[in-house]
Point group: C2
Chain length 166, copies 2
Amino acid sequence: MAVPSRSFDSTELGAYFALIEVSSLLRHTVEQQLRAAGDLSYVQFQLLARLGDSPGGSCRMTDLADGVVYSRSGLTYQAQLLEQRGLVTRAPSTDDERGTTVTITEQGRNTLTDVFPGHIDVLNELLFEPLARTDVEALADVLGRVRDHMRSAPPRSAAPRRRKTS
Amino acid sequence: MAVPSRSFDSTELGAYFALIEVSSLLRHTVEQQLRAAGDLSYVQFQLLARLGDSPGGSCRMTDLADGVVYSRSGLTYQAQLLEQRGLVTRAPSTDDERGTTVTITEQGRNTLTDVFPGHIDVLNELLFEPLARTDVEALADVLGRVRDHMRSAPPRSAAPRRRKTS
DNA sequence: TATTGTTATACTCTATAACTATA
DNA sequence: TATAGTTATAGAGTATAACAATA
């Protein structure tokens, strides 16, 4: 089927291990900051941030699910938590009554405001501080291409992410 | 204290978002592959892999905790699971009787062998396929520096990782 | 007293499957 | 029939605090 497995050289291993360790450490630190500053999990922050960037502060559940959460029920769970805290509202979509429109509230935006400065601080201190401008550009370029590739090419051998049931 | 928060430009945002999305998607896919091929979580795989690379296949709990798991109790939990499945053994350290020496078993090495090829396939397809050699080198270089920085500089504003209790 | 590790416990998160309602 | 979302439920993982044993 696919190209037979080959081992990696030290550069490839280095890139892989560094990617895993950096993202893991970064996420862990950010999670603590978000929890301390606004009592948000990382997923909850991502949902709020996406809503905050959307026109009207609204998204359908499906739009929120793509790229943030991997199961619909997981998204429902998180949306419930956010709704209970008054950070978002949920209402049936006007155009498609099957859908649910999630909207960020003023309180939700305030929470984002509370949380952003510390978030930025963490990123500056942990991620950007040791990097030159060209490094950041290289990261954005290379990882951007990897992301586009991942989005366009569902894994062949591993489990597909969003296919017709079977 | 620290430099006051400043916003990020689009390149910085791009690097950050791409890093998060790539690592998240990669980890998710790898996790499914590890689960399918050897019934391992990612953390369990990391522990086994580290043991497999250690001289004698042994590590102390503390050495395992650093860089893989964030709490001692979490490591104990995972070590128990691996021990119950016969993939590692645990025994009091000979030199320091407070310590526990964890050792990978032959069965543990077999599990690693079962899991490696698919793991490599996933990395090739998802991470390396769209990259030129120079891209991989750039990733290893830049992220390697970030990792070194993170290791050496415990976050100033966020919670420290391993400090004298307070 | 400080360090290593375990235990008890509680909580968060995620996923699967069954279900409802609309297109 | 297919899609959008919810619910019920179960399981995996993590963290905190209290604890025991050794340095």
